[in-house]
């Protein structure tokens, strides 16, 4: 998969490039990002000026209680939503200016999503589910199948590639979802409560997989409200009321 970018220093302090543009190695750069939603007569200000920089090879947990804005931030980072104001660069691309087709292409190329509810297509088998991002990337059939099989092998499910989601356990489904997220070799693995629907044994299993992927050089952003899950990450960003409350390295992980 991705060429291992070994032991990139936690480069949060890396100065931004000229005119606030991101420097090399910075996968995510947000500057004063705001986002509000009208709710009846009032306006919910979900994000009120968020600056986040995440570098290649980092493993970051975004935490916060519900209503803190972490889902909104994740949607913006995942290019599913756009900020009202402020700027966001994903791997050097200014996202705020992009139209629908470019955003779709960016999601396809740069981001691998892992969802709480797995979000696999029920009618397709594991292999086809993993192939799906490659179909939208325009990859030819043979290469597609090869790469999808390889990704499934990475998560240890190659022999189950002809099974449909309903024929797989929860942990296996999430592994298929991880394979699907990895298959395009994205810059960023974006996981939204990936263990929220799993029992504790399977949770440990999936988190161990994330650890392994991180060791191999993948950049991982994990959105969770569960401190125990966040413990696996090497850095924790805490949100409260639409602002960053704290941004701290995980002391138990040292510099990873």
């Amino acid at each position: 998969m991705q060429a291992p970018v070994t032991q990139t220093a936690p480069a949060r302090e890396t100065a931004p490039g000229p005119a606030g543009r991101p420097g090399a190695g910075q996968v995510i750069v947000t500057r004063a990002v705001t986002r509000s939603f009208p709710m009846g007569d009032t306006v919910i200000r979900a994000l009120q000026g968020v600056d986040v920089t995440i570098c290649r090879g980092e493993y970051v947990a975004i935490m916060g209680p519900s209503g803190s804005g972490k889902s909104t931030l994740m949607n913006i980072i995942g290019c599913l939503d756009r900020p009202d104001s402020g700027e966001y660069w994903l791997n050097g691309t200014p996202v705020a200016e992009l139209g629908d087709a470019d955003l779709a292409a960016l999601r396809n190329r740069e981001i691998g999503f892992v969802f709480q509810t797995f979000n696999l297509l029920a009618r397709a088998d594991a292999l086809h589910n993993v192939e799906l991002p490659l179909i939208y990337a325009g990859v030819g059939r043979r290469e597609r199948t090869e790469r999808a099989q390889l990704a499934l092998e990475q998560v240890g499910l190659r022999e189950r590639m002809r099974h449909r989601p309903a024929e797989l356990s929860g942990g296996q489904r999430q592994r298929v979802a991880v394979a699907r997220a990895l298959v395009t070799r994205p810059s960023l693995l974006l996981a939204d409560e990936p263990t929220g629907n799993l029992d504790s044994a399977t949770t440990a299993d999936i988190l161990a997989l994330f650890d392994e992927l991180h060791r191999k050089g993948n950049t991982i952003v994990l959105v969770t409200h569960d401190p125990a899950v966040a413990e696996y990450a090497h850095r924790a960003i805490r949100l409260r009321d639409g602002r960053i409350e704290s941004d701290t390295p995980n002391p138990r992980k040292g510099h990873g």
């Binding site: 599913l80 779709a104 999601r107 396809n108 979000n119 799906l132 939208y136």
Partner: protein, 402 residues
Amino acid sequence: MLFAEMILVALQSVRANLFRAFLTMLGIIIGVASVITMIAIGSGAKAAVDQQIDQLGASVLSIRSGSFMRMGVAQGGATLTIKDAEAIARDAPSVIGVVPEIAGQLQIKHGNRNENLRVAGVTANFPEIQGYTIASGKSFTKADDASRRPVAVLGSAVGGKLGTNAAAIVGQTIYIKGIAFEVLGVFEEKGSTGFRNVDEQVWIPFFTARYRVFGTEQLDSISAQMAPGSTVERSIVEIERVMRKQHQIQPGKDNDFSIADPRQFFNVREAAANIFAILLAGIASISLVVGGIGIMNIMLVTVTERTKEIGIRKALGASRRNILLQFVVEAMVLCMLGGAAGIALGAGVTTLIARIAGWNMAISPTAVLLAFCFSAAVGLFFGIWPARKAARLDPIEALRYE
């Protein structure tokens, strides 16, 4: 390859909801079947009419006296005589044969049966010009005509009307106006030609009719056979010129005769077939529209049902256009499957009608192609709105949908 995925997804979707897909397609199936049947009936009816025109034999025009209309009343008075017939035969270059006809309704007696039938006095050349074929016996000759012999040829239904049958009456005697006529032969059945049933008619030699039966020289009509290759229009002009001279009609005055192409009677039948075809076209267009609305309805349901899937696909990199295309393709696949079933059904119905009506009907490849394109167009037209709805879904909302 993205297109292949779209077709695959569409087929999966149809398979997953087979019964629903069938019900959805029903309107399209009926519509397309109607289109196919309609076109086949249209061409079949035309072929049948053409065939009947061929049975008429040569191209024949019919000249009648004074049947033009003035103030809504048929103007009589002018007479059509044997001299007119001779003049047409002589002076109209495109006419190669004429049959003068004296006719009237007369009592025919045979044994103790009595029937009021049309009796036509005609020259001996009439069977070939007017297209009659002898079924049994023979027709009368020129010599029979010249010597005013009391002989007759009957339509196929006359024997039955007179208490016997077509074969048995040959050689027997019938009485017309008290004169004994020998039945020489019977014609094959011809069927109604639109205005008159010639199967219930009796033919006798012209001069026999002229001098022994009707006692008048006023003709009922003249049949003029056109030379092969000459047009109806040209022959009509020629005959008109001869007749106007014959009747000494001043320039600017109306004709006191009329010239008709008997083929026009067949147009009535063709018109009837056309009305049936128009009816089917109505059914076809209504059911295609209703079927299209059904497709639209079920596609809206499908879009709602698959909101989550749309969200997933968008998250994985599907653009609005990809989603739009996917659902348009799905609607079109539904319609085209319906179209294929409709073509099969239409072929079945056509075969059935062909068997019942005895028409030689063929399903043209053009019709099949047309029907197929039509159903695809219906899918495109009615699928685009639900597809737009799907494409415009917000990915975040869609992913949250349960």
